[in-house]
């Protein structure tokens, strides 16, 4: 702390390009620079201010952001979704810069609708968005609160608003992710689901800058839901469709999952897996899991269990045995018993 009355050391003739922090005070006093310029010097001088606390906070944020984008890139497929996320991030950065330079900046309404079958990456992308929003300062915490109809809709009059508000409160500073959002509109006029929608809409207005609401659900149902509530359509300017994975993408996902779990497929097993995925895609038995990542996970975890059963009966096992999944391990059902394979 500098005592009153003390004259600062004033190295005369210090070049303007590298002013020492000490000199800044002198120059400010002599009217050579403005207070704003002094702060700029402070910021750029970083640690040189003689005080260790002048430490830049930005690199950590930048690094986190880069990691998050890497994670996004590692997701298999989802090309259009990835592009949209990058667009959103760029938009936020530019709007902020516009505001910093005194240009008019669009208010950022980031509520979204995610349309797609289960297991197509909706929750994963929502989680990544939360982290991007946090790193860019749009949201304070960027956490994800997942909920569904049962968490929002109550059993008696007044209960719904209370339950919904509770979820909203948990999500403040982050993302409220309503799974199967369309189910709020089912049940007609007398259903409490409508009250949940109204409460959510109100929360979107009240906490515009503290909350991002994502409604997720099947493509067709979400489409109907939005069309039957015209007011909602305009409140969710960002609508993302998550396509089902192609067979190649599903195989890629399978490879990633296996590599992570340290298993390998024999050539026959790989063929069997491919045939199986293809079969499920063509004849999904009305099962919405067809063509998505969750199906792959179910098949693989099932195969791991069958492999274990096969090995446990043997008297000796090699390290390679423990890692290898054979075609036989992929036989049979992958869902509950009773479903046709």
């Amino acid at each position: 702390m500098t005592r009153a009355g003390e004259t600062p050391a004033r190295p005369e003739g210090g070049g303007p390009e590298t002013p020492g922090v000490e000199d800044v005070f002198g120059r400010l006093e002599r009217g050579e620079i403005t207070p704003g310029e002094a702060f700029r010097v402070f910021r750029l001088a970083g640690g040189q201010a003689g005080d260790a606390k002048l430490e830049m906070a930005e690199p950590a944020t930048e690094r986190r952001l880069a990691e998050t984008f890497d994670e996004l890139e590692f997701l298999v497929g989802l090309t259009s979704v990835k592009r949209l996320v990058r667009e959103l991030h760029a938009f936020i950065v530019i709007q902020r810069e516009r505001a910093l330079r005194g240009l008019s900046a669009e208010p950022m309404v980031l509520h979204m609708v995610f349309k797609g079958n289960p297991g197509t990456g909706k929750t994963t992308v929502a989680r990544i968005l939360g982290r991007i929003f946090k790193a860019t300062g749009v949201l304070q915490k960027g956490h994800l609160v997942e909920c569904e109809r049962a968490d929002l809709v109550g059993e008696y009059i007044g209960h719904t608003a209370q339950k919904t508000r509770e979820q909203v409160k948990r999500a403040i500073g982050g993302i409220l992710f309503v799974d199967e959002g369309y189910s709020l509109a089912r049940g007609g006029e007398k259903d409490f689901g409508k009250e949940a929608i109204d409460t959510l809409v109100k929360a979107m207005e009240d906490h515009k800058d503290e909350l991002v609401l994502i409604l997720a659900g099947y493509l067709d149902e979400m489409q109907q839901f939005l069309e039957s509530n015209p007011g909602l359509q305009s409140r969710f300017p960002i609508q993302i469709t998550f396509p089902d994975f192609t067979l190649e993408e599903l195989m890629e996902i399978a490879d990633l999952m296996l590599a992570k779990r340290q298993y390998t497929l024999t050539v026959e097993a790989r063929q069997a897996l491919r045939a199986k995925l293809q079969r499920y895609r063509r004849f999904p038995y009305g099962d919405e899991n067809a063509g998505n990542a969750r199906l792959v996970r179910n098949i693989i975890e099932r195969a791991m269990r069958r492999q274990a059963l096969r090995l446990v009966e043997r008297s000796s096992r090699s390290r390679a045995d423990l890692q290898t999944i054979e075609a036989a391990d992929l036989d049979g059902d992958d869902y509950e018993a009773g479903r046709p394979d």
Partner: protein, 194 residues
């Protein structure tokens, strides 16, 4: 003792905030240490109402030089002391009066050693000039917070949203120094960090 520095443009309510916040924390008497550049530091004791009448004014640069007062911040069952230093308003341009410039330089000197920086702004218009420079600097600091003052006046709630977006990760606390609203959040901010 940690130091909290109150900075901002002239007439955004830095001194009124300092006095009323001290009162909010239970101080009935203020022991204010003045640190003028010419001459030794001296202390005056004010009843709180007197402090408001004497220190707060509508003419810019009423505060010429640093004025510090000791705050008692409750921390669990104990009380931590924090020095709250009120400072001269900072302007966009070089000020013609040398005494004001000198007071501004003193403010800047204090910035490096303060544990907290309360950047007081009036959110009625978008931040520009010196406020932006303070904000950019503040974003690199841990104990930095923007105090959006004058929330009791029209137009401020609208400006607050834009301010919060601009400030990004820096905490923005909405207060009204004259109505003493939002002080609880400021207290919580300080208490978490003492």
């Amino acid at each position: 003792m940690k130091e909290a520095l109150v900075i901002g443009r002239p007439n955004v309510g830095k001194t009124l905030f300092s006095v009323n916040f001290a009162e909010f924390l239970g101080q009935r008497r203020l022991e204010v240490m003045f640190r003028p550049r010419d001459g030794a530091a001296y202390t005056r004791i004010y009843p709180i109402g007197q402090a408001r009448a004497d220190l707060v004014g509508e003419d810019p640069h009423r505060t010429l030089g640093l004025q510090s007062l000791v705050l008692n911040v409750p921390h669990g069952k104990a009380v931590r002391k924090v020095v709250l230093t009120d400072s001269t308003g900072l302007t966009d341009d070089v000020h013609p009066v040398s005494a004001v410039r000198r007071a501004m330089a003193d403010t800047l000197r204090q910035v490096a050693s303060a544990a907290f920086i309360f950047h007081v702004v009036d959110p009625v218009s978008p931040l520009e000039g010196v406020d932006l420079d303070i904000l950019r600097y503040g974003l690199t600091q841990d104990g930095y917070a923007v105090l959006a003052n004058k929330m009791d006046l029209p137009g401020r709630p609208e400006g607050l949203a834009a301010l919060a977006r601009l400030a990004g990760p820096a905490p923005v606390l909405a207060v009204s120094a004259s109505d003493r609203t939002g002080f609880r959040e400021v207290k919580a901010f300080v208490r978490r960090r003492v």
